[in-house]
């Protein structure tokens, strides 16, 4: 069993769990993920590691309540126990002094960017962060980003905070105006696809972190297959970091809907049950 030591709510639907898992915290590197299974009946859910702390022996994940399983997760309280946390899984991000790096985070994807940002900064990179949210009320970790970024740009879809617009707008401007050595973009598939398109003409190496549907997370089932430059890769063992210019995003967008029919049904049942209560 694993204890949730702290919960932080970012918005009515997004929240953070800090989970005690000393061995995972010890082994974790930026870019890796864990698979969480809350109880005997729950799914195995892959979540990218948003932070890890060897001293406190904890790993942090950020969750958006979107389906039945994640709504269930929202009901947990601090000091509750969950059955299983497996990890760290996947290949760590490449951390080197690349020169100037732009880190782009969208929505919940902002969280897993953070450990990469911190590691790159500590390696000596010049770091420019662009983090985007739908609205001001959803903004989180601004302070943490400012601490490790030479420049921090915040955008919101509705303009209630920072610049109005999408993360790709400042990204495009920076790519055009300056010498950038690498871009790291994590967020919804459409955002990562758009970011990769922005950097493609300039040929700036762009790493995205894909998070397809998984079961075991150890290469055994192939659920998380990604077409990368025409080759089949598994996000769980070859990723989750991948070359954004080679990822077939359109295929991933379709594959993301593999279980939507079931997820919808499950959520409807869940909502009915909640109403009864």
């Amino acid at each position: 069993m694993f204890e949730i030591v702290r919960i932080e709510n970012f918005s009515p639907s997004t929240f953070l769990w800090e989970v005690r898992a000393p061995e995972i915290a010890h082994a974790a590197r930026p870019g890796q993920f864990v698979i969480v299974r809350c109880d005997e009946k729950a799914e195995r859910i892959p979540l990218t590691i948003a932070d890890f702390d060897v001293v406190s022996g904890t790993v942090t994940v950020v969750i958006q309540a979107a389906g039945k399983s994640t709504f269930d997760m929202k009901a947990y309280k601090a000091l509750d126990q969950i059955s299983d946390v497996a990890g760290p899984l996947g290949e760590p991000s490449e951390i080197e002094n690349f020169g100037t790096v732009v880190l782009v985070g969208g929505g919940l994807g902002v969280a897993p960017v953070f450990p990469i940002l911190r590691a790159l900064k500590l390696k000596g990179c010049r770091t420019i962060s662009i983090i985007g949210f739908r609205s001001k009320s959803l903004v989180f970790w601004e302070g943490r980003f400012r601490e490790y970024s030479d420049e921090t740009i915040i955008v919101t879809d509705d303009g209630t905070y920072g610049e109005k617009g999408l993360v790709t707008q400042p990204l495009k401007q920076i790519i055009t105006e300056r010498e950038i050595n690498r871009v790291i973009a994590i967020g919804p598939l459409v955002m990562m696809k758009a970011a990769a398109e922005v950097t493609r003409p300039a040929g700036v190496r762009t790493i995205v972190s894909v998070n397809p549907i998984m079961v075991d997370g150890t290469g055994m089932c192939g659920s998380c297959r990604v077409s990368l430059g025409g080759e089949v890769k598994f996000a769980c063992i070859d990723g989750p970091d991948m070359d954004g210019h080679l990822v077939n995003f359109d295929e991933l967008l379709i594959r993301q809907k593999r279980f939507s029919k079931y997820e919808k049904k499950s959520l409807e049942l869940y909502e009915k049950k909640c109403q009864k209560k």
Partner: protein, 460 residues
């Protein structure tokens, strides 16, 4: 008057129409009377050739003799000298290619049902708790076992019995490996596996779930920071093959590993009570005809589809699956399309598979190939084409020698890898030859355990 021939006792089976709707065990197993009658058929040959057909050389003649004398405990002890898990192997071994294929009785009539007798003894033992429990004298040595499938469990058992402190690291949330995530409930009830694993715990073995070795700990860390004296890698060949044809990535296409894991390990048939959906349609095509393919087809059948097909490039005779399982699948309504390969999977407008273009190749009596092309409607395609070596451990252990295809190389005599103190067996190696069965994996686990004990002794 001719001597009355006693026919081979068949075990009761659930009728196909009932079992198609549930996951209950299909083969009910022998009653005591049936077991005694069947044991009575054994000729007790002077030179029992059945034993040579057994990959772990169980003393079959002797255990059957014990059954005849109603000394079931004696029979259990005899079997477990060679095979620790008779309840499991009695159910999943391909006996018709092993012990029963060599049975002398089989030349003129049906061979002795050695598998069913083995299961009878194993189940008796489970019901009566005959497993080894006597406390072991510890020898102050620590072994790490990677993977809790058949190879790892067998290795752990032998090491624990020798007094070694054993920790088994399992990647999934539940121990048992393929016995738990792969082989369906209706062929191997999970309760049977749980009991064997509980017995192992009773011997003092610790099982740590959720531990992906190569990630949470490297092999090197196991030997240094975590101070294990020896390591056994039995991580399995978990990496699915796909044919690489157009349409492989379409929605509705998945590996047998994914499908079986969703149903068997994650209880997908009970969605939404359990959180993991299975996501199959009404017309299911399973590609391949090994045991995993048959397991997939029979599992799919239990989820209420319209049609389940097995599409196989060769013929029935060439299928590596157990004949009994093929028969069961047929009885349950699975349809077999022989000598056929899919050449392209075709999508509907939303990116889901809607069917496959297939080529069926038959050879006429003059040796001429006659190909015919046809379209098979299928909204679910399950690939059961075998597996390749999982790369997690080899990628994080550069000193570990692997062959061209990624399998871990081991020495023939003791199954030690290129790193001293690190042993390997089961499907992550080629040590089982071309056999990827439970019993072969178990036998490599035991061979490695022997090698590990000798290694530990030599190092003292």
């Amino acid at each position: 008057m001719p001597k009355k021939v006693i026919v081979r006792q068949s075990s009761a089976h659930l009728p196909p129409e009932t079992r198609r709707t549930n996951f209950e065990e299909v083969v009910c197993g022998y009653s005591e009377a049936e077991a005694l009658t069947e044991a009575g058929r054994c000729l007790q040959c002077k030179t029992p050739v059945c034993i040579t057909g057994c990959p772990v050389k169980i003393n079959i003649k002797q255990f059957i003799n014990f059954i005849s004398k109603k000394d079931y405990k004696g029979a259990y002890k005899t079997i477990t000298e060679a095979n620790l898990f008779p309840s499991i192997c009695g159910r999943v071994c391909p006996q018709e290619r092993q012990c029963e294929a060599s049975c002398v009785l089989g030349k003129k009539q049906e061979p002795v049902a050695i598998g069913l007798l083995e299961r009878f003894v194993g189940d008796r033992a489970q019901q009566n708790d005959w497993h080894e429990t006597h406390p072991v004298e510890p020898i102050d040595k620590k072994a790490a076992i990677i993977g809790s499938g058949p190879a790892g469990l067998a290795c752990a058992y032998d090491l624990a019995k020798a007094g070694v402190t054993v920790v088994v690291f399992e990647a999934l949330h539940r121990p048992g490996g393929v016995l738990i995530y792969g082989i369906p409930e209706f062929r191997l009830p999970k309760e049977v596996v749980f009991k064997e694993i509980e017995n192992l715990r009773g011997l003092g073995v610790t099982i740590e779930t959720n531990r992906v070795i190569g990630k949470i700990h490297t092999i090197e860390e196991l030997m240094t920071r975590l101070s294990f004296d020896v390591v056994f890698i039995g991580a399995g060949a978990g990496y699915p093959k796909n044919p690489g044809i157009k349409g492989d990535s379409l929605n509705g296409v998945m590996s047998a590993n994914e499908f079986l894991t969703r149903v068997t390990l994650m209880h997908g048939a009970d969605f939404p009570k359990y959180g993991t959906p299975v996501g199959i349609g009404k017309n299911i095509a399973v590609i391949g005809c090994g045991n995993t393919a048959i397991d997939s087809a029979r599992t799919a059948m239990r989820l209420g589809p319209d049609n389940v097909y097995i599409v196989y490039r060769r013929t029935l005779e060439e299928s590596p699956a157990r004949k009994e399982e093929i028969r069961h699948a047929r009885e349950e309504g699975v349809r077999f399309i022989w000598q056929t390969v899919p050449v392209e999977l075709l999508p509907d407008d939303e990116g889901w598979v809607k069917g496959m273009d297939c080529i069926q190749r038959k050879v006429d009596e003059t040796g001429l190939h006659i190909d015919s092309k046809f379209f098979l409607y299928a909204d679910t395609v399950i690939y059961a084409l075998g597996t390749m070596a999982n790369p997690i451990i080899s990628r994080t252990t550069p000193e570990l020698k692997i062959d061209k295809t990624g399998y871990i190389e081991t020495s023939e005599d003791n199954l030690m890898t290129s790193i001293p103190g690190i042993f390997a067996g089961g499907d992550i190696t080629r040590s089982t030859g071309t056999f990827t069965t439970v019993i072969h994996a178990m036998s490599t686990g035991r061979r490695a355990a022997k090698g590990m004990l000798e290694y530990l002794k030599a190092g003292q």
